[in-house]
């Protein structure tokens, strides 16, 4: 993903499909400025009422964890089952809890 490309920089596109829902990654577009990125994203990803809001983010601005870090990043939570509601023993007969 060279940004010396003559097609402009890569921008990642996130679309909110309905009010109240989170923005979801849809793909990417090329653009030389933010207005163009937004317009290209509109033309490419919302031709059929797929969205009510679009975010465009320069690829260079995104910081991602790496696959080789996934052990130290995500595995420690495996042994903290007390973070889940099913860990707790409720008295017999208690309702609505």
């Amino acid at each position: 993903m060279s940004n010396t490309d003559h097609q402009g920089d890569v921008w990642e596109v996130f679309i909110q499909s309905k009010p109240g829902l989170p923005h979801k990654h849809a793909g990417s577009v090329h653009a030389t400025d933010k207005e163009m990125a937004l317009q290209n994203a509109r033309d490419m990803y919302t031709r059929r009422q797929e969205g009510t809001c679009i975010w465009v983010v320069p690829l260079q601005a995104i910081v991602s964890s790496m696959p080789e870090d996934s052990e130290s990043f995500f595995e420690p939570s495996d042994d903290k089952i007390y973070r889940h509601p099913t860990h707790y023993i409720m008295p017999e007969g208690a309702k609505n809890i």
């Binding site: 793909g27 577009v29 490419m44 991602s64």
Partner: protein
């Protein structure tokens, strides 16, 4: 040694039907296979706009014109989704375009056939998009995440394309004798090239073994081609057209159609660049790209000016 371990882990992931994402380790041949396949797919979407664009100004009604425009705009979008997926493999858009223009990268040979009549636009939507859908539905389950996601999006949009094509064919086939003749002629010319879209026989295909092992492809060329034939022949019968295959017949016992052999000399001839429109398609694409140079330059100059203004302020 380390690579062997990584390769085993990679294959285990594939075998467990987990997707491979851009930053994951992958064997170099997996990467180059995907770069070739996805860019070829992207180039096909974009070059495919030309035979259809040929009829925008001559569409027989306002309805058919807006529909054709919307379809061609979709194809442009599909090309963009696929280039985006291809770029996640570490090659720039410029490099992919360069490979197309130099002839290193291919696109589907079907687009090297001309669209001579309005019925051809029907045949393209019905048969060419129909064949593409069979292939793309299968590719939704490909092992590479960005390619799979692009396929899901494309398949959602693609079904209108096939229906608009079949509607044109049906209108012609059920119209005047001249219109019916035109529809039959379009089917005669597009049937075999559509079957060729699935590529050579599995036994002749250089890439099939790796593609299956790595689950880039989920079904082979011959399996997909058979699926397409089985569902399309009935659609031709419904509108009273004859599939131009003298060996085609219904096998009552097996509940399926049997069919004749493709003319592979024609297939390889068109792949090698000797189809009716190869030169015209490429010339037009290069011209459009070069004519757009000033737009790209102006956009970059504008962006730089905005940036320097911001710095001053």
């Amino acid at each position: 040694m380390e690579d062997i371990k990584k390769l085993e882990e990679f294959q285990a992931k594939i075998d467990a039907d987990l997707k491979i994402e851009p930053k994951d380790w992958m064997p170099e041949e997996y990467r180059t296979h995907l770069q070739r396949q996805i860019s070829q797919h992207a180039h096909s979407e974009v070059i495919g706009m030309q035979p259809e664009g040929n009829w925008i100004s001559r569409a027989p009604s306002l309805r058919s014109k807006v529909v054709l425009l919307a379809k061609i705009q979709d194809e442009a979008g599909h090309g963009q989704y696929l280039y985006s997926a291809a770029e996640t493999l570490g090659k720039s858009r410029d490099e992919y375009l360069e490979e197309l223009h130099s002839g290193k990268a291919k696109y589907s040979s079907i687009f090297n056939y001309p669209t001579l009549t309005w019925a051809d636009i029907g045949a393209v939507g019905w048969l060419v998009d129909g064949a593409a859908i069979v292939n793309q539905v299968s590719l939704q389950r490909t092992s590479y995440g960005p390619y799979s996601r692009a396929m899901v999006r494309i398949c959602k949009e693609e079904s209108f394309h096939q229906r608009q094509g079949y509607e044109i064919m049906a209108t012609c086939a059920l119209g005047t004798p001249e219109q019916k003749k035109m529809a039959q002629d379009a089917l005669n010319r597009f049937w075999w090239p559509s079957l060729m879209m699935f590529g050579p026989h599995d036994s002749e295909s250089a890439h099939t073994a790796n593609a299956m092992k790595w689950r880039i492809k989920r079904e082979t060329n011959d399996e997909l081609r058979d699926k397409f034939i089985q569902k399309t022949v009935q659609q031709a019968e419904v509108i009273g057209l004859t599939v131009p295959d003298p060996d085609l017949k219904w096998n009552e016992a097996d509940g399926r159609y049997e069919y004749g052999e493709i003319n592979w000399d024609e297939f390889w001839n068109v792949v090698k660049g000797n189809g009716p429109c190869n030169k015209q398609r490429m010339r037009h694409h290069i011209k459009a790209h070069e004519d757009g140079t000033w737009v790209r330059e102006a956009a970059i100059a504008y962006a730089e000016k905005q940036k320097s203004k911001q710095l001053v302020a």
